[in-house]
Symmetry: C3
Subunit: 343 residues, 3 copies
């Protein structure tokens, strides 16, 4: 497929810079592009590559256009516009309806004819699978699971009993949804008893979950991810968590049980979010931060980690961290002694 | 099933508050309960919901009973009592003995007739599976694995060679037990050679492992989790680790190789525990803490993370962290100068 | 198999201490060894066990030989020499060529006759599998995947489209390679659109990936792990990351997108490495460190975490961390006031 610059401007907005008849049929990095490639400049880190690019068309914003040696589409949000164009050039593969003969489908399950069911898939009783759903090889859908139309499960996903997915959800390989929450109670003899986890997990529409991430079922009510929530890989979502629409969590972050995160939040990679707290809408949490308390005002929050350093300096400063309270007291004493007359 | 308050008091202990003939048949949160529901109050965070609950019976402790608008079972440990009652109302599903025709069982494996073996399960030579074990779809039991009676493996669990499970163990989906420990030795040409990991993994009775958690096999002797150990999701247990009975680890925590953790410890979520250290019995580690040295006294330990803050303040304070040793020296100098006469 | 000390010295180098005819046929820890066992002493932590060992032969360095009560092989790097000898005593299991009848292989895939293909394996069109590759049960190789000779995939590994593995690679169970990178762009209505991830993942020769680790496909170009890279369990490698030869990452570490790590680096467990940075060759990062900026000089780097403490002290010092910038200003003021005349 070839796309012409003038068409792109028409369909996706933005201003044409250079020859409106320039066409591209693939995407590339600015550094590796040739004249048939679409490139983009969104992160200023890569601005130095613009001047020497051999791309056919670059998507960029107005600030950068003067440095662009080739045709360009000048837009406000180059990353978004690039995403929209690239999605045209690289459409999702079409599904191949049909059930592989090695799939095991309970007669009491309902699977739409338009679905693609891969080898080794297991579908238990009471499961409902909507139109045009793709179930990758070896996925397991336990009793009572429900999957909305046009969702796609990559191979080796496991959904426990009664998990509900909306439409157009994407679950990557190794995802486990609905395992029991970590609810255990200590008995007199020091052993633990499991607290029944009778809630399930409900995902809205357009939710995407990264590889090997886990979402636990609720203790009593469901764990809920609203429409458009995006999770990266290796994320842990504890029981009873509620995540608002269009909130995104980057890789290896974790949310402990019963916490409520608002809509349109951005949680950085490896962030740790305590249990039983509430985070309002429009909060950004920086990578690796530890969020220990509720957040009631939109904004950017950090904490958790201290800066990187060479190992020797870090060790020295770390020792002082353990003396910090003592240092603060000494400092107060000194202040009183030195400035007593100036108070 | 309906349970009457008077019976509950008899069977589980505690004092009856209100009408002893009150019955319930399900559980609910205090906020969502109706008159047929059992609720509980264990976490003081939820105390404000008690006054308006429409529950039939609430399990709570003596402090809260005056605020309870309905019948109650007054006990010392409401969470434990709730767990015991809820387990009656929501029993584990009964197993359906039998082997699915798509399971692949080596003739030299022994699987008790009472077991439930799901589709796509693979059982290699020398495996021994005890009575009434449930093997979920697509589980793989490699050579020489042994599983005690009444254990349950959810779908897509992999056990490497010779892994041994006690009785009543529960492994959630995606668990991998017995992969080789990360033992590598550097050669003269900078490449790595694998150090053979000839130990295996031994789990006691009543061990539960959360989804996608990994337990590596020992380098020489086994990695060991004693009776009643509970692991949440996405946890890493390195080779040669030994975890004492009834110790629980919350999600995404990790224990590096050759560390020994005592019995009855509680390890918070995302905690990082160094290798080659020893932690005594009855230690609690707070969430996200980094435990770098052995702990020889029972108690609560923290460290690792600094408090959350708005991003700007955190950045300012972080800069100072790198000056902390210098600050401490200046402070000492000042102290000497100002208080020299008072020494 | 029995190995004689004199032979070991000849084949692996090192000096014989004690009777050169001593033979061993297995390995053991110093504490548990008997006269038929090979032990080793590499970590000084275990030196106290040397004096009482009943081992037949101990591999150790010159410093320790005087304390050794039995025969010894005296070498410069006992861990490496032990690894080489142990690899002789415990060779990898031989592969059993053949395709299990339950495997599903697309007619347009090429699988060498010498391969071992386990039950439930799924191989899609265009896949190429080299000589003597072992594919464990339920592995899924998506369209266009290529696997070099003598590689081994443990059960339940998923490779997405076009992932390329070199020769002698080892992937442990639950590994997911080639899931889409976390590239999402916000639209005007606050919803996210996926940015197509058209790159794939390329692994060099001799790469090993630990259980349940994830390596995302590149946004445009491939994510690359060069020859001899070793990853432990539960590691996240973001899209477009490039890792140089023989670099090793310990468990639960994570590398955010577009970061370049050099060759021969050692990344500690639970380390977090920011996106879009560059780390030069020969860098060591301590466990749980947060690496936020590029590193241009070889060395050991730390940061991220503060030291462990009892919970009460940690809380006190943590409070002061939030006052650190203020403390530093006060300190400066005091310094000026007290030392003004000494400047």
């Amino acid at each position: 497929m070839a796309l012409k610059l003038s068409e792109l401007a028409e369909r996706f907005g933005g201003e044409v810079h250079g020859d409106p008849d320039t066409t591209v049929s693939k995407v590339a990095t600015l550094a590796a592009a040739d004249s048939d490639s679409l490139g983009f400049l969104a992160n200023p880190l890569y601005a130095p590559q613009l001047g020497a690019t051999a791309a056919g068309i670059v998507v960029l914003n107005a600030d950068a256009v003067d440095d662009c040696p080739c045709a360009a589409l000048v837009v406000k949000d180059p990353y978004l516009t690039y995403a929209l164009i690239a999605s045209e050039l690289y459409p999702d593969p079409e599904l191949q309806s049909g059930v592989h003969p090695s799939a095991v489908i309970d007669p009491q399950a309902t699977v739409a004819d338009s679905c693609q069911v891969g080898p080794g898939v297991v579908i238990e009783a009471g499961v409902q699978v909507g139109d045009a759903v793709v179930l990758g090889a070896n996925c397991v859908l336990s009793r009572g699971v429900s999957i909305g139309a046009h969702s796609r499960l990559h191979p080796n996903v496991v959904l426990y009993d009664d998990v509900m997915l909306g439409e157009r959800c994407v679950l990557h390989s190794g995802v486990v949804i609905g395992a029991r929450g970590f609810g255990i109670a200590k008995q007199a003899d020091a052993s633990w008893i499991n607290v029944p986890q009778i809630g399930s997990v409900t995902l809205g529409n357009d939710v995407e979950i990264g590889a090997n991430s886990c979402i636990d079922r609720g203790a009593i009510e469901d764990t809920v991810l609203e429409d458009g929530v995006k999770l990266d890989n290796l994320i842990q979502i504890g029981h009873n968590v509620h995540i608002g629409a269009h909130t995104a969590l980057a890789g290896q972050s974790g949310v402990a049980g019963s916490t409520k995160i608002g809509a349109n939040c951005l949680i950085g990679g490896r962030a740790t979010i305590n249990g039983h707290i509430e985070i309002c809408d429009h909060v950004a949490v920086t990578g690796a931060a530890g969020i220990t308390h509720s957040i009631t005002k939109p904004g950017i929050y950090s904490g958790g980690i201290v800066p990187m350093d060479d190992a020797v300096s870090h060790r020295k400063n770390s020792v002082r961290f353990k003396q910090l309270d003592k240092m603060a007291r000494t400092l107060k004493k000194l202040e009183r002694a030195v400035f007593k007359d100036e108070g």
